[in-house]
C-alpha cells in the first residue's frame, strides 16, 4: 500500500477535528472534535509503524505501543473532560463555551461581570439558572 493513503487520510481527519475545535460552541462537540484529532494521530502512528517494521526491520513497535497509550490517554481525557463539562453545566446552567469568559480581558459588554469581585463573578451571569438549579436540587 502506498504510504500516502493513510498519511493523507490522517491529515484530513486532523484538519476536520481542527475545524470542529475552532468552530463548535457546545463543549461536548469540542470534545468530539478532539477525539477526531487524536484518532488522526493514531492512524499516522499505526501506518508508520507498519511501514518501518517491514522497511527498517524495526521490532520495537513503538508506533503501536504509542497508539495504545494514546487511546488510553484519550479515554482518561474524555472522562475528565466530561466531568468538567458536567460540573460547569451544573454551576452555570450552560455548556456553551462562548459564554464561559470569566477570565477573559477586555470584553466591554461583560464589563460589570468581569470587573466585579472574585466572589461575585461566577454567580452573576447565571444567577437565575443557578437559583433554579439550587431549588431543583434542594
Amino acid at each position: 500500500m502506498h504510504l500516502a493513503y493513510p498519511a493523507v487520510l490522517s491529515a484530513l481527519l486532523f484538519c476536520t477535528g481542527l475545524y470542529g475545535v475552532l468552530a463548535r460552541r457546545n463543549a461536548i462537540l469540542v470534545l468530539m472534535s478532539v477525539e477526531l484529532m487524536l484518532n488522526a494521530v493514531n492512524l499516522n502512528l499505526v501506518a508508520f509503524d507498519v511501514w518501518l517494521s517491514k522497511a527498517a526491520e524495526e521490532t520495537l513497535h513503538s508506533g503501536q505501543a504509542l497508539t495504545l497509550f494514546t487511546i488510553a490517554i484519550a479515554a482518561a481525557e474524555i472522562g475528565i473532560g466530561l466531568a468538567i463539562v458536567l460540573a460547569v453545566h451544573r454551576n452555570r446552567g450552560t455548556s456553551d463555551i462562548d459564554k464561559l469568559r470569566d477570565t477573559a480581558e477586555g470584553h466591554e459588554h461583560d464589563g460589570p461581570d468581569s470587573d466585579g469581585s472574585d466572589s461575585g463573578t461566577p454567580a452573576t451571569p447565571a444567577t437565575g439558572t443557578a437559583a433554579e438549579k439550587a431549588e431543583a436540587t434542594a
Binding site: H2, L3, A4, Y5, P6, A7, V8, L9, A11, L12, L13, C15, T16, G17, L18, Y19, G20, L22, A23, R24, R25, N26, I28, M32, E35, N39, N42, L43, V46, A47, V50, W51, A55, A56, E57, H61, S62, A65, T67, L68, F69, I71, A72, I73, A75, A76, E77, G79, I80, L82, L86, A87, H89, D118, S119, G120, T121, P122, T137, A138
Partner: protein, 231 residues
C-alpha cells in the same frame, strides 16, 4: 538502516504505480472516504446526538483502516474503547447537559468561517507536505501481520512495560479525578461540616477568602485532602 530501507523501497517503487492500485488500496480509499465524510458530518451537523452517532461511523471506519493496515489488535482496541465506551460517555454527557434533541441553530459559533479558513489552509499544507515527502514510499503488507496480538503483546510487555504501568497510575488518577469533579454539590456542605474540625485550619481559612460563590469548589477540593489525612 533506514537509509538502506529507503533505497530499497525506492527501487521497489519502480514496479508499482499510482494508476494501478491494489485491492487493499482501493478498499482503504473507499473506507477512508466514508470515514472522512462521517468526520465532516460530525463537525458540521446541527443535531448534537447525530454528531455523536456519526462519530461512531468515523471511529468504526478507522478501525477498518487499522485492519487493512494489518494492525489487528489496535483495531479491536479501537472498537472496544472508542465505539464502546467513549461514544457512550459522550452520549451520556449530551443527555446530562440536557442537549436539545432537535436542531440546535447555535451549535456553531460565529468564527466558523475563520475556522474553516484555518482548517483548509492547514489541510492543504499538510497534504502537500505529506504527499511530497512520501511519494515513493510503500508499505509492504505481505508476510506475517505486523500488528497481530502476539506481536503487539510481545512489544508491549518486553519493551514498554514501564510506560504501561505508569499508564495504569494515570488511569487511576483520572478515575479519582472524574469522581471528585462530578460529585454532587449538594453533598459538599455536609462533607465540610463533618470534615471541618478534623481537617484543621485550612478549611475555615479558605472558605471566607473565596467567598460564598467559590464555596463548592473549595469544599470539593478540601474533601480529598481530608480523606488523605484520614488515611
Amino acid at each position: 538502516m533506514t537509509f538502506a530501507a529507503l533505497a530499497t523501497t525506492a527501487g521497489l517503487s519502480q514496479t508499482r504505480g499510482f494508476l494501478s492500485p491494489t485491492g487493499v488500496e482501493i478498499a482503504f480509499l473507499l473506507v477512508g472516504l466514508v470515514t472522512f465524510g462521517a468526520a465532516v458530518v460530525t463537525v458540521t451537523t446541527r443535531q448534537l446526538v447525530h454528531a455523536a452517532l456519526w462519530l461512531v461511523v468515523a471511529l468504526g471506519g478507522l478501525a477498518v483502516e487499522y485492519l487493512l493496515l494489518t494492525a489487528e489488535f489496535i483495531a479491536w482496541v479501537q472498537v472496544l474503547i472508542y465505539v464502546g465506551s467513549v461514544v457512550v460517555l459522550l452520549l451520556f454527557g449530551l443527555m446530562l447537559t440536557k442537549a436539545p434533541i432537535g436542531r440546535s441553530p447555535d451549535a456553531d459559533s460565529g468564527n466558523r468561517w475563520a475556522a474553516l479558513a484555518v482548517a483548509v489552509a492547514s489541510a492543504a499544507a499538510l497534504v502537500w507536505v505529506v504527499v511530497d515527502a512520501f511519494r515513493t514510499t510503500w508499505i509492504d503488507l505481505d508476510g506475517p501481520a505486523e500488528g497481530s496480538t502476539e506481536v503487539t503483546g510481545q512489544a508491549l510487555f518486553r519493551n514498554w512495560v514501564l510506560p504501561f504501568e505508569a499508564l495504569s497510575v494515570l488511569l487511576l488518577a483520572a478515575l479519582v479525578g472524574a469522581i471528585v469533579l462530578s460529585r454532587k454539590a449538594k453533598a459538599t456542605p455536609t462533607g465540610t461540616a463533618s470534615h471541618g474540625p478534623s481537617s484543621g485550619a485550612d478549611g475555615p481559612a479558605a472558605a471566607p477568602a473565596d467567598g460564598p460563590a467559590a464555596g463548592p469548589a473549595s469544599a470539593s477540593e478540601g474533601r480529598p485532602s481530608s480523606q488523605e489525612g484520614a488515611r
